[in-house]
Subunit: 120 residues, 2 copies
Amino acid sequence: MDDKISFKEIKACPIQFVLAVNDTLNVINGKWKLPIIGSLLFKKRRFTEIQRNIPKITPRMLSKELKDLEMNGMVKRTVYDTIPISVEYELTDSAKSLSDVLDKMLEWGLQHREAVLSGS
Amino acid sequence: MDDKISFKEIKACPIQFVLAVNDTLNVINGKWKLPIIGSLLFKKRRFTEIQRNIPKITPRMLSKELKDLEMNGMVKRTVYDTIPISVEYELTDSAKSLSDVLDKMLEWGLQHREAVLSGS
DNA sequence: ATTGTTACTATACTAAAGGATATCGATATA
DNA sequence: TATATCGATATCCTTTAGTATAGTAACAAT
């Protein structure tokens, strides 16, 4: 019952390709996902700590986006029974491995900017 | 006057990092950019050809997104004085080189899906 | 008793993205 | 003369994303 489609097969079909890339994009889309991931890249943090880290985010958005990231297996949420209560957020291993992809995006972005500027 | 910031320096600063990655994301964001790029990845195409390639896109969106991609140095637009008029769209070299990044995203997306499914 | 902290939630709103539908100008074909 | 093609644009409308502001429960310190 191995109905998995391989990397090569997906690459060869533009529609499958676009769908699969979109899977990745959907995980990081929206205005705040990347800043949140950035904030958690080097260490786990608590809610208010992330908030301080991203000055303009509202608690509503932070809460919503963290839930989203958690649902998508990007973030692990741990509640500690301290007083007052404390909650820690950390990236999953899979999320951490995204930083390689982000590096590629960064690299391409810099190159592209160069190319566009020099070519105009 | 070399005030360029290097890859390493950007990577080291979470805020710069997020901003630079966002540059790349902004180039491919929205519902239709990726399908359009996908449609142009292997060959240049004309307006109606892309439209047929992406059945659900409206001409309004296709026109808008193509302009956007052109402005961002992703697409080159060439008008031919045929009857009726024909216009060809093709990816720039820089845009073509994005496919390496997209491959990375695809790869990560598949891995991540595996990780999330097996870990739940 | 009042104030503060943590980690949120609720309600209401505005802004941005995208969809539906009609139309255009030039020209060809039936 | 009527209809079709190409490459769009115009107008209006809906849906989604994000903002603003206030409030909550549980407790602790002053």
